[in-house]
């Protein structure tokens, strides 16, 4: 009843949510103390004389109780009112208002922030301390963002469920690894080469599966991913089997300077900065950022072109597409090829960054993670997918950092091992809460008036 009252007349009659939250938190504390005092507070153990003694763990108990109270406090004080407010807002008539500065320029601000990220990290953590943040968080996440954006073309736009995407990633990685180590070609030649090779394999995969859709397609692509991996393991003469290829050359900066300490034109020497591994990482960060942005740019452009529109129409209704004169065969093959090409780009970058590739890196789990990112983010939505990649990959990286959990669960607790558990939990929660992913709504590509970016045919004459 009180809730109903507070809905109709907030602020005046209902008690302050904070006061209520404090009260409820105290209750929760008492209850959890009662519950856990025997479970956590006391523990029976054997001492040196083999006698059963009671060990007390008041500290742990206090932490658990405090966490419970904090959780209850936050939920009652902030979360529940927020949910209610949202409900009330939804019930009201939607008021159209001019979006604020931040909201209007969100994209530009986000990109700007990404470019400033290494600068910020270096200035706070120092050159050496920045390594972890730029490499593990920056580069790692951006690789997955790029892979997921590439897969998004196949799965999100064209609606072709591909469970073997990692195969193209592998093709790209091995192309760079082999050609760079054997022939000594530069990354800047091999990047497009890897993309073309991956696209070629995309078409090779595309041909036999043209007639398949949905689950059948998924099974065949899954098999394709495994075939590529098994070939990499067993074709020892070329790929060195499961031992992998090591000593893959680093990327140079168009020949002007390199990142090998022994080279005369080493970056640190050219600029008189001394020796540090961080330069290469920061360089890689900007490179993958640019590659990811290229992927996004191409995707956005393609969506507004006939082929992109055809992909989206294909996802919705294949038969209708054909009856409108669209060659669905070519449409599917281009989707596979372009999606694979970006996988190949990411793969060659990956090989250059690791300096080592082995079939271990291209297992089915990788495909599943990339697909999970696309689905969680919202199929077809670039910002949604980027958010999902940050949450998923950043989340697993953060787990490594959570050493304080050892204080609670004991020194043998390794948070990384719970990675997949949390991954699964997060997926279930997101799917319950937002079944279409973080950004589930599709952005239309055509508008009659406004927006000059649509296509030239719209802007030729004014419409009333």
């Amino acid at each position: 009843m009180t809730q109903a009252v507070s809905l109709s007349a907030p602020a005046t009659t209902a008690p302050s949510p904070i006061a209520r939250a404090v009260r409820e938190a105290l209750f929760a504390g008492v209850i959890s103390f009662g519950l856990f005092v025997l479970f956590i507070g006391l523990k029976s153990d054997q001492n040196i004389d083999n006698r059963l003694i009671v060990v007390t763990r008041w500290g742990t108990l206090a932490i658990v109780v405090a966490l419970t109270m904090l959780g209850r406090f936050l939920f009652v004080g902030f979360l529940a009112p927020a949910f209610q407010a949202r409900k009330a807002r939804r019930a009201k008539v939607e008021v159209v208002s001019e979006a604020g500065f931040v909201k209007r320029n969100l994209l530009a601000i986000a990109i700007f922030a990404l470019f400033l990220y290494p600068v910020f990290i270096i200035s706070t953590a120092g050159l050496q301390g920045s390594l972890k943040w730029v490499d593990n968080f920056g580069i790692q996440i951006l690789i997955y963002v790029m892979l997921a954006w590439g897969l998004n073309i196949v799965v999100g736009l064209a609606g072709l469920l591909d469970l073997g995407y990692v195969a193209f990633y592998a093709v790209g990685a091995y192309s760079y690894a082999l050609l760079a180590s054997e022939l000594g070609w530069s990354f800047w030649i091999l990047l497009p080469t890897a993309g073309i090779l991956a696209a070629f394999w995309g078409v090779i995969l595309g041909f036999p599966v043209l007639r398949l859709r949905g689950d059948y397609l998924a099974i065949v692509t899954l098999a394709f991913g495994e075939i590529i991996r098994l070939v990499l393991i067993n074709w020892r003469e070329v790929t060195n089997g499961s031992a992998g290829i090591s000593g893959i050359p680093k990327i140079d900066f168009f020949g002007w300077f390199t990142f090998n300490v022994s080279d005369p034109n080493y970056f640190g020497k050219v600029f008189g900065l001394g020796v540090s591994g961080a330069y290469y990482k920061i360089f890689l960060y900007y490179l993958i950022l640019l590659l990811a942005l290229l992927t996004a740019f191409v995707t956005i452009r393609l969506r507004r072109m006939p082929v992109g529109r055809a992909w989206e129409a294909l996802r919705e209704d294949e038969i209708a597409c054909r009856s409108l004169g669209i060659n669905t065969t070519n449409t599917k093959l281009t989707a596979f090829a372009i999606g694979a090409m970006f996988g190949g780009f990411a793969g060659s970058f990956f090989a250059a960054r690791q300096g080592f590739v082995s079939p271990e890196s291209f297992v089915f789990l990788e495909s599943a993670i990339i697909l999970a990112i696309v689905v969680l983010g919202g199929m077809g939505s670039l910002p949604g997918i980027a958010i999902a990649a940050v949450v998923m990959i950043g989340g697993t990286e953060i787990l490594r950092e959570m050493n304080f959990l050892k204080l609670i669960f004991g020194p043998s607790f390794t948070p990384e091992l719970y990675r997949m558990l949390l991954f699964g939990l997060a997926m279930v929660i997101v799917m319950l809460w937002k079944p279409r992913g973080f950004v589930g709504s599709r952005e239309p590509t055509a508008f009659l008036r406004a927006r000059k970016a649509v296509s030239s045919s719209f802007t030729k004459e004014g419409h009333g």
Partner: protein, 242 residues
């Protein structure tokens, strides 16, 4: 079997697996006509429509469009000969907006005539203009039908195939859609081949009509004659003997 027909379906047989759905169908549509094909559920009307579009393919017989044998052509190439279709169940793109759906219809010309044509469609169906940025899936049934026909028209068709445009719609909307078809035929000389269960409305609209029973054409004649025919009246217009 008219020698100069725009669309000529000659003795076509179509199978679903081993089940014969069409046994030797002959239908022709002349330039500038509205031809209606009526028949009960499961008579093979939609199958004929889909066979003309090459999916499923006719196992025997021949389909000729404007002198070109299209029997073995893939669907998208048939569409490129400017045969447009508003298929059974409308099949609009539900997550795309009205405007995007119409864009898809204009794929053949790469949107060259889009501005011009989209205005024509909006004149014909002003309701679509009101819904222009709305997703296809959120339209009402009648609006979806309008969109489906509008999308077909965006391809600048020489022959428009309509599969049950009245299906599941209120009588007033059906009348509006039939009026629109008549209007298109009168002002632009568009040739229309129409499949309908709503025999009365379809035959009133049509220049000529065919009656289909169990995969064969049993009767044909002008729309007026068929409407007056006692057997047609009994079977399709007055509750029926079947």
């Amino acid at each position: 079997m008219a020698p100069n027909a725009l669309l000529d379906v000659r003795n076509v047989e179509t199978y679903y697996g081993n089940i014969r759905a069409l046994n030797g169908v002959d239908v022709s549509v002349n330039q500038g006509e509205i031809v209606a094909l009526i028949g009960a559920n499961g008579a093979g009307k939609s199958t004929l429509m889909m066979t003309i579009f090459g999916s499923p393919r006719a196992r025997s017989g021949q389909i000729v469009f404007d002198g070109t044998d299209i029997t073995q052509m893939p669907t998208h190439e048939i569409a490129r000969l400017r045969i447009a279709q508003s298929p059974e169940g409308r099949r609009i793109f539900p997550r795309m907006t009205v405007l995007e759906n119409l864009q898809m219809g204009a794929s053949l010309d790469k949107l060259k005539f889009f501005d011009e044509d989209v205005e024509k469609v909006f004149t014909l169906f002003p309701r679509l203009k009101e819904r222009i940025n709305q997703r296809g899936g959120t339209l009402s049934g009648g609006e979806q039908q309008m969109l489906s026909i509008g999308r077909a028209l965006m391809a600048r068709p020489r022959l428009l195939l309509l599969d049950e445009p009245s299906l599941g719609l209120a009588p007033l909307i059906v009348k509006g859609i039939f009026d629109a078809i008549r209007e298109l035929n009168r002002t632009q000389g568009l040739t229309v081949f129409l499949v309908e269960q709503n025999a009365f409305g379809a035959l009133k609209l049509a220049t000529r009509g065919y009656v289909m029973v169990n995969g064969s054409v049993t009767m044909s004649g002008t729309g007026k004659d068929l409407l007056a025919d006692p057997e047609v009246r009994a079977a399709y217009l007055e509750g029926g003997r079947h």
